[in-house]
Symmetry: C2
């Protein structure tokens, strides 16, 4: 009942994460009734991003220039390396404003059940990077779930003998939250990981 | 901190309805890490939809061919005309499966406060269409909110003297809502339970 190009656009939009049939339809019809530049600009941005963006040869974040602005910056502490699963984590940590070192983007997490081993990720070059940069501390900032913890543990073992201290981001009750709503796993972890106040 | 083409893509995605900063960032990074065809196909679908889609010269729905498949179909009841605000409403009613007549898409609703009068919408040609088709019943299926009700009332008055019965969908659909979010059962009930307006 819908014209083929509209159906096609809905099908392509549905492939985006978190976009179902209704959202895709609403987006498609919004695009159709919006000024033509809107669709053109979005199409152009999509094409450009695929043409111009490359992974940084050092930290593997997606960037226009390699090495990226963070790796090339003289103002960053090159002896502090934060290991994250993906670029969304990197952006979140940058936005928190509490970190001034370099990053290393794994491009995922270890998941043997799905066939994701160390060589599928940006893990093999971590050790060389830590040595070449003379890193004094590696912060493991993989996500606080089963796969993220396993990935952190794997990298901790990998870095034994490099001389770098290996730390893990604190896991506990979120700031601004309420103990009442924290799950028992998080609360248990918050008790176990308590520190001097 | 993010590369310019990525920022640009995020900015364009944010213009979509219901997409905020976090969702746009997540979508952009998903697109970046997905296979390249994903972005190409979406860009192509966006371009194609703007190039190939035209409004049907009869019912004004967006279509590849004018007249559209519904207006051209010999299986539709041409004496029954359903007036909707936009294509999302048309799709919702089609999906309910309770309607087999023709449609008339207004392209919006009357809203004098925003300067939207009858001539800004596909209202002037309704009367001729009703006469030329020999319509026996016009179903007003504008949204059940203030503007939609006012638009329905305006069209009811416009059609006085044409001989067509004017009905309004039963407000089984919750007042203040939007057709887009109604489930098909409610929409079907609204079509079946229509009454004199």
């Amino acid at each position: 009942m819908l014209a083929r190009p509209i159906k096609n656009l809905i099908r392509e939009l549905r492939k985006l994460p978190g976009v179902g049939e209704k959202t895709a339809t609403r987006l498609a019809l919004h695009i159709l009734t919006a000024p033509p530049e809107r669709a053109e600009n979005l199409a152009h941005a999509l094409t450009e991003v695929k043409e111009r963006i490359v992974p940084c040869k050092e930290c593997h974040q997606l960037t226009e220039d390699s090495p990226c602005a963070i790796c090339a910056s003289p103002r960053r502490d090159r002896t502090l390396l934060c290991i994250v699963e993906d670029q969304v984590s990197l952006i979140s940590i940058e936005n928190s404003g509490n970190f001034n070192g370099l990053y290393h983007v794994l491009g995922g997490r270890l998941s043997p059940m799905d066939g994701v081993g160390p060589s599928s990720l940006n893990i093999p070059d971590i050790k060389d990077r830590v040595r070449n940069l003379g890193v004094r501390e590696v912060i493991l900032a993989t996500n606080p779930n089963v796969d993220g913890e396993a990935t952190a543990l794997y990298i901790k073992r990998l870095l034994e003998g490099t001389g770098a201290a290996v730390t893990r981001i604190a896991r506990g009750v979120p700031m601004g939250g309420d103990l009442e709503y924290a799950d028992s796993l998080t609360l248990g972890r918050a008790i176990d990981g308590r520190g001097t106040f």
